[in-house]
């Protein structure tokens, strides 16, 4: 049943620290050990390391007098314990197979007078609280030996206990609605041959119907059948948990016996219905002559199609993305399963800018590329995802892109440095440029190189309206070529150049 949100009332969800999963519970985890079938057909229930055996397909086989071993298999239904990833499946079926040995000549009661013999039928016991069975009534010692002891195989509820003292089998329970089946084996004092009883059922008092409801618990906490169960995408059925009734078979809703369902090859999960048929044990008011109880359960069968998942950045290949030496981000191809190319809707720097500053040496960058998932095979189809992408920004080719430092040069240049002194003129130094005023450095103006035409320009750290020429003091000039490179710097003083020829 779905958990309902009755939306007019508050509905709280709780996030708790997840527990480490124990993985998938399988038959290896259950680790059934020491399963055995005696020549007489007596099944020795296997021990189990994890989980609880709640049902088996056989508790005995026919005596093997064929002269050769017979392969015997019993399918045990195991309740999956809590903590496993498939706990919600409820149960797991594990098959145990072993050769049933043929009866040895030694253990043939007609020739071995040490062997005890069993006669009669131990009757079913109902309304159990505590009762005793005189085993001597049913087992008779052989003429050559005495009965050395008995063992009891309990094929059902642990709530029913058994003990043997002498020839007295005591069966007791403190629980109501508990059922089991028992079998007694008698051993003789002379050899290893044994005799076995019939299998008989035992049930405690239970004045109610056995139902399919998992909420129908009695005061002893013994639940009736129904919780858990699952159907895999391929149609494998895991039976629900049951602790009282005997499972008989599975049916579809039309009453046909089934062991599995067809795989769900559709595009999405589907609801399927299975009827689990159980035998109502003695003790329940609705038990009777092989009375069956049909429990219909619905399951969500997942699809065999690959489940849709969100497209992750790790699923995506980015190609041809670059950062130019100018710091511009150039988009490339975005490819992932189902779509060969996709276009970035946004590319930004670590600071969400659309462009990097230029650099003088190669620099590692991580841009964020946002794009829309364009293939319906992905769960996050038609939504945007943002992925980091590492790129390298090359150094700039224009030295003025990384130029720093400001100074000023004269607006006017001369082919000769002394021409500043002609005609008694003074010249302003007010044109701001970038760079460092030393030989070999580049003069930059407005982000680009200053084309100096191999002329001399006066320069100064600060602007000056009459910083060069006949100013009565020294000033500095620099010669700038057409690549903006400073070829030389000189100090000029115009004092003495009175004729205006430029010679000081």
């Amino acid at each position: 049943m779905s958990t309902k949100i009755n939306a007019r009332s508050p509905f709280f969800i709780e996030a708790t620290e997840p527990t480490a999963t124990l993985g998938i519970f399988d038959c290896t985890t259950a680790n059934l050990l020491n399963f055995a079938v005696s020549s007489a057909g007596d099944v020795t229930e296997p021990g189990i390391s994890k989980g609880v055996i709640i049902d088996r397909t056989a508790t005995s086989f026919a005596e093997n007098t064929s002269g050769s071993a017979i392969s015997r298999s019993v399918t045990y239904t195991i309740q999956i314990p809590a903590g496993y990833s498939n706990t919600s499946d409820g149960t797991l079926s594990c098959v145990q197979t072993i050769d049933q040995p043929t009866q040895s000549a030694q253990c043939n009661p007609s020739t071995n007078n040490n062997m005890a013999t069993f006669s009669g039928t131990i009757p079913a016991i109902t309304n159990l609280t505590s009762t005793t069975v005189n085993l001597a009534t049913y087992f008779t010692a052989g003429t050559g030996a005495t009965i050395s002891g008995y063992s009891v195989q309990n094929y059902g509820a642990a709530a029913i206990s058994t003990s043997v003292s002498g020839n007295t089998l005591t069966i007791a329970t403190n629980s109501s609605c508990a059922t089991t089946t028992l079998r007694v084996t008698a051993f003789n004092s002379a050899d290893s041959c044994s005799a076995i009883s019939n299998i008989f059922s035992v049930a405690s008092e239970c004045s109610k119907d056995l139902t399919c409801s998992i909420t129908d618990a009695n005061s002893d906490g013994i639940f009736s059948i129904g919780a858990g169960g699952a159907v895999s995408a391929t149609g494998v059925i895991s039976k629900p948990i049951y602790g009282i009734a005997d499972f008989v078979r599975m049916e579809d809703t039309s009453g046909n016996t089934i062991t599995s369902l067809p795989p769900n090859n559709g595009a999405s999960s589907q609801t399927v219905y299975i009827v689990f048929v159980f035998l109502v044990p003695d003790g329940y008011t609705n038990s009777g002559n092989e009375n069956e109880l049909d429990c219909q359960r619905s399951f969500t069968q997942p699809t065999t199609a690959a489940p849709k998942v969100d497209l992750q950045c790790s699923d995506v290949t980015f190609s041809d993305f670059t950062i130019t030496s100018q710091g511009n981000i150039i988009g490339g191809n975005i490819s992932y399963l189902g779509t060969t190319t996709s276009v970035a809707t946004s590319m930004v720097t670590e600071t969400s800018a659309i462009q990097y500053n230029v650099v003088s040496s190669s620099t590692s960058r991580t841009i964020s590329v946002t794009f829309t998932v364009e293939n319906t095979d992905w769960l996050n189809y038609n939504s945007s995802i943002t992925c980091p992408l590492s790129l390298t920004q090359p150094p700039t080719q224009n030295p003025c892109n990384s130029a720093s430092g400001t100074y000023y040069i004269s607006n006017q240049g001369f082919a000769s440095k002394n021409a500043f002194c002609d005609f008694g003129s003074t010249y302003p130094i007010t044109k701001g440029v970038f760079g460092t005023p030393v030989d070999g450095q580049t003069v930059c103006s407005q982000g680009d190189i200053f084309i100096g035409e191999f002329k001399y320009y006066a320069f100064n750290e600060n602007p000056s309206p009459s910083g060069a020429g006949n100013i009565g003091a020294s000033f500095q000039v620099m010669k700038i070529d057409n690549s903006g490179t400073i070829l030389e710097t000189r100090t000029v003083n115009c004092q003495g150049d009175t004729d205006g020829d430029g010679a000081i």
Binding site: M1, S2, T3, K4, I5, N6, A7, R8, S9, P10, F11, F12, I13, E14, A15, T16, E17, P18, T19, A20, T21, S85, T211, C212, S213, S268, S269, Q270, T271, D294, C295, Q296, R297, S298, T300, D310, V373, L379, N380, Y381, N382, S383
Partner: protein
């Protein structure tokens, strides 16, 4: 190792459970664990209800939504999401426009079978009715001797199913999924009302389904008007006079609202629950003059009537039509 925080994504969608896309992502919530607590608790019903828009035009549709809650869990030790398949934790819920009473406790689950709380239904003689069930929990319904097998496709559009109750039916039996456990029996009483015109009130009940209540007895329709007055100057300055046929006061913004008072006729004590839910419903409609019209319950108090106190039980229901008499819809 402890839980640090969680990011919760709420996907709200129609269709089948788990079949959602990123377009169905309606809310993303983040919350840190309070250091003194072991878990993080978030209330989501109000958020979910924004997407449950129940409407009704005598059509009895299933208004439910799947809600998939994806909890991404972060470890306080590493600051990272838990690995090993432990995160995200995904759970599916089915949202219904119902509510629980205080005594229904936290996260009320309520009925998974019949979505009709009382055990009696009253229908006019010769008139068919509707009976709401929750498809997940019902195997079959026997209406008189006719069996209807219920199947659940998992789709939200049929989670609430409205079974047709033929005219003059006498009983409805709702069975569990095993088809043998009788969960509820509803006695249907067919009322012959030769004098008054029965009216059908439909409302969203406690369990989130549309439920009908027929009112068989006396109906009183009233009408109240609202208006405003302003005083005006009607002097003609050119002739220095005024017309006596022009009022000094002028009425404007006139409109009216119709109210209707209905009587259920005699019903059993058990029917109190239906009336109670009708009073608590936020949405109700009346089938009136061939149209389904929205109404608002005007009665603000409810007396739980008993046979001992009241002998024969009749409920009087007062409603106001949820619209103005004069169409001023703009």
């Amino acid at each position: 190792m402890a839980l640090k925080s969680t990011t919760i994504k709420l996907y709200i969608y129609s269709g089948t459970s788990g079949n959602y896309t990123e377009a169905d992502l309606k809310y993303t919530l983040s919350k840190d664990r309070i250091s003194t607590k072991n878990s993080i608790i978030v209330e989501i019903a109000n958020l979910v209800r924004d997407y449950l828009n129940v409407s009704f035009n005598d059509d009895y549709l299933s208004y439910t939504k799947w809600v998939t809650v994806s909890q991404t869990l972060f470890d306080s030790e590493t600051g990272l999401e838990y690995d090993g398949g432990r995160s995200p934790v995904i759970n599916n819920y089915l949202a219904i426009d119902g509510y629980g009473y205080y005594e229904d406790s936290i996260n009320p689950q309520l009925s998974y079978s019949s979505l009709y709380t009382s055990s009696n239904m009253y229908l006019p003689e010769g008139i068919a009715g509707k009976f709401p069930i929750f498809a997940e929990g019902v195997g079959k319904v026997i209406i008189d001797s006719t069996t209807t097998e219920i199947t659940d496709s998992g789709d939200t559009n049929q989670k609430i199913q409205y079974l047709n109750i033929p005219a003059n039916t006498s009983s409805i039996e709702v069975y569990a999924l095993d088809d043998s456990t009788l969960l509820k029996t509803i006695a249907v009483t067919n009322i012959c009302e030769p004098k008054f015109t029965p009216y059908k009130i439909s409302f969203i009940n406690k369990l989130g389904a549309i439920q009908d209540v027929w009112c068989f007895k006396k109906t009183t329709e009233t009408f109240s008007v609202t208006d405003e007055i302003y005083r005006r100057n009607n002097i003609s300055t050119s002739s220095l006079s005024y017309n006596t046929y022009q009022g000094q006061q002028q009425r404007y913004n006139v409109n009216g609202v119709t109210s209707i008072s209905l009587n259920t006729g005699y019903v059993k004590e058990d029917f109190n629950s239906a009336i109670e839910e009708l009073f608590l419903s936020e949405k109700a409609w009346i089938r009136f003059e061939g149209k389904t019209l929205p109404v608002i319950a005007k009665s603000k108090s409810f007396t739980n009537k008993t046979v001992l106190n009241d002998r024969l039980i009749n409920h009087t229901l007062n409603f106001e039509f949820a619209f103005n008499k004069i169409n001023n819809v703009r």
